[in-house]
Symmetry: C2
């Protein structure tokens, strides 16, 4: 068998890179739990009709088939891999509604799959970390303020550049288009979403072509999309465009509330930005996109919004609001470029050296004593020369080697070369050495 080649779009991490990813995910998880979000995991597959229900996603889905599917097998026909965590979550809420307490706060950290053509920062398999709050029948607006603050809290303390969250409200945009007299406001939103890709002229052309906008209407849409502010001053700027509509008014109020509350609780985090549209059709209110300063080319690393109509069982609707951190989109480029790395590639803090293979059982007992106090330890693979055993530790970044020699037990810090007698039942490594740490370069 020859050496296997990597699969484009399916990134895999080396152990040292994985330590960084794992610590970042642990940090997010801890933050979400501090805010009272409960974890769930949904199965990787959904019925195709669920996956194709909303939005322009049909191109992207991976369909499953059992290799030896039988004719009488109805059980897993028509299954596909989920492409995000929102659609499966909405299904989970409907399926288990009778056993959940509402409002239901959940976080979910799982893989997703999209059959897109792989490109910079876009993967076919990727990790997302989502938080959502879903309620029954009605969802108070204060959750649209809370969700971005939780994300800000979760990203704080990570070795990442500062983030800026761009927020808009679909009622604002669609109300504005409606007030202008444009008929298909959803399609108009989808066209505005392409602004960064195809530019203002391209957008104006599409608006004329696809939603029968006049050049003046197209111009007004573009002027709306150019408005942004860190406070509520965008409200006056929008009103100055001279369009009046009740939905627009609602959107302006809701967006102002989000921006003002965020300015108070997390200054500098949120900016109102009227060009934000989000590609997925299920959003109905506030929408969010988040950019890493200096890495805007990565695209939005955390997106989401409010959805009022994603889940409904006829008796109740389950409106929600959520944000999704693109863990792979955020980390994989920083890991591959070496901007983020870890102090070592193994959890091991101490290697127990072996003088003779016959001593392995005693070495195991020493290791056990250190482990019982929380120190990660492994025993040397062989009773090679001590120099070779130290090299074994050094290659992996293991900081300490424990020797049992004529002078009793000795702990060697292989970075300084310093070696001192040690009582394994009291010894503790410096706090910075107990576990690998993330290093940002």
């Amino acid at each position: 068998m020859s050496r296997p080649r990597p699969l484009s779009g399916f990134p895999e991490l080396l152990p040292r890179q994985r330590i960084v990813e794992q610590q970042v995910v642990d940090h997010l998880r801890r933050a979400f739990e501090l805010h009272g979000f409960a974890n769930i995991q949904t199965r990787a597959v959904e019925p195709m009709e669920q996956l194709l229900r909303k939005g322009e996603t049909s191109k992207e889905v991976y369909v499953l088939r059992r290799l030896q599917a039988e004719a009488d097998d109805g059980g897993d026909a028509g299954l596909g891999l989920h492409f995000d965590l929102t659609v499966p979550f909405a299904r989970y809420v409907l399926e288990h509604a009778g056993k959940l307490q509402f409002p239901f706060r959940r976080y979910q950290i799982q893989q997703c799959w999209r059959g897109e053509r792989p490109q910079e920062g876009r993967f076919r398999e990727f990790w997302q970390a989502d938080i959502d709050i879903v309620d029954r029948d009605g969802l108070p607006a204060h959750y649209e303020v809370e969700i971005p603050l939780v994300i800000a809290d979760a990203l704080r303390g990570l070795p990442l550049p500062p983030v800026r969250m761009h927020v808009n409200n679909r009622k604002l945009s669609q109300g504005f288009y409606q007030g202008l007299g444009i008929g298909d406001t959803e399609e108009a939103l989808r066209i505005i979403d392409k602004l960064d890709k195809i530019g203002a002229d391209g957008v104006a052309e599409l608006l004329v072509e696809r939603v029968e906008a006049t050049p003046e209407q197209a111009e007004a849409c573009l002027r709306l999309a150019s408005i942004s502010s860190e406070d509520a001053s965008f409200v006056d700027e929008v009103k100055a465009l001279g369009v009046a509509d009740p939905l627009l008014e609602e959107g302006l109020n809701e967006l102002a509330a989000v921006v003002e509350a965020a300015a108070e609780e997390a200054p500098g985090l949120v900016i109102a930005d009227m060009k934000i549209a989000r590609g997925l059709d299920y959003y109905t209110g506030t929408v969010y996109e988040t950019f890493l300063e200096g890495h805007e080319g990565l695209g939005s690393i955390c997106s989401g919004g409010r959805y009022d109509t994603l889940a409904s069982d006829g008796k109740h609707t389950y409106p929600g609001v959520g944000l999704s951190i693109g863990v792979s989109r955020l980390l994989v480029p920083l890991l591959q470029s070496g901007s983020l790395t870890a102090t070592r590639e193994v959890p091991t803090c101490v290697l127990v050296a072996l003088a003779n293979e016959e001593d392995r059982s005693e070495a195991n007992a020493l290791a056990r004593r250190l482990r019982s106090r929380g120190v990660p330890v492994q025993v040397s693979p062989s009773a090679a020369k001590y120099g070779k055993q130290i090299k074994f530790a050094d290659r992996r970044g293991i900081p300490f080697v424990l020797f049992d020699g004529d002078e009793g037990l000795q702990m060697k810090d292989i970075r300084s070369g310093e070696q001192t007698p040690v009582d394994v039942d009291v010894w503790e490594p410096p706090a910075a050495d107990l576990h690998p740490r993330i290093v940002a370069e």
Copy 2:
């Protein structure tokens, strides 16, 4: 949209059940890291030719297809979901061999998928937690002793019935069959593997039919399979059957070493059991199966073995030994029966009550102060009557509610009803209340 129905074979957990699963996985992870195992994650998909290379697994694989696959697309044709973590790990080792340090100790906790007909304790999607040690060209036998001891350590401290690990060695069985004069020893092993399912008579019949065994040879195979012991006394019992073969001799020595070392370091854990065969073809030495006492019907909850030929790139081979805990097989039945549950269904320890909606920002500030000291907190969804807010906490199992009233800040333990003035910058919950805990019933 009507209420979605569960998919057979794809179990999903409610938040309270998931807390148990998450804490069990965290416990395993911590134990593996204390033993110096580094974590990796492999992509969910492998090329079909990798998945079909070894063993009788072809029936079980889920094949992927992009919904709108194009003719010129070679990128993800012929991909399937992995059915275990050993085959992807062997591929990972080959692909990244130049960047890994050997011997390489890794753990991996991920989902796997098999298109099997769902049945008691068998799922189409399930979690596994694997540890393996892989070396280059040669693998010392002491790792075959170490791996079960790490698993024993990892399972210790979990609220589970005691486990018993049944160990055999393929060299022993195949050497014995060879010494008897049976030609196709691999097929003979596969037949012995069915002993629990089809009984002694069925096995004898198949041995005669498929590997042309005489009735006497079949009888000898069955007598071998009936031998088991907690110490090395099985060696004499096997020798008493009067079969001599160098491979058998090797297997006897290796198995005796594993059993004796385990008896010393983890008394009562390991039993030599000559009927253990393992269905997968890639094992070449020690093989392990593990049963929960009183829950033998679950089948083996932790299986594995030594494989010498799974990974080879022409220049080097990468022999390994590993064990895989069937996390779903172990936990899902215990969770569904209610034998394992958690003290609450949310991470939240304190609910901050709200007297007026206008106080939300102040309540958020109180929550922040508690969170900064590691206490999981959420703010009440609305300024409903206090009785309703207490009920909100009670339904979720949140133990404490913080009130800001005329008498200043008061912390109420809603289980006892006791309410006391509190300084949120010093208050700490009892250690048992800070996070949800697993309860075994």
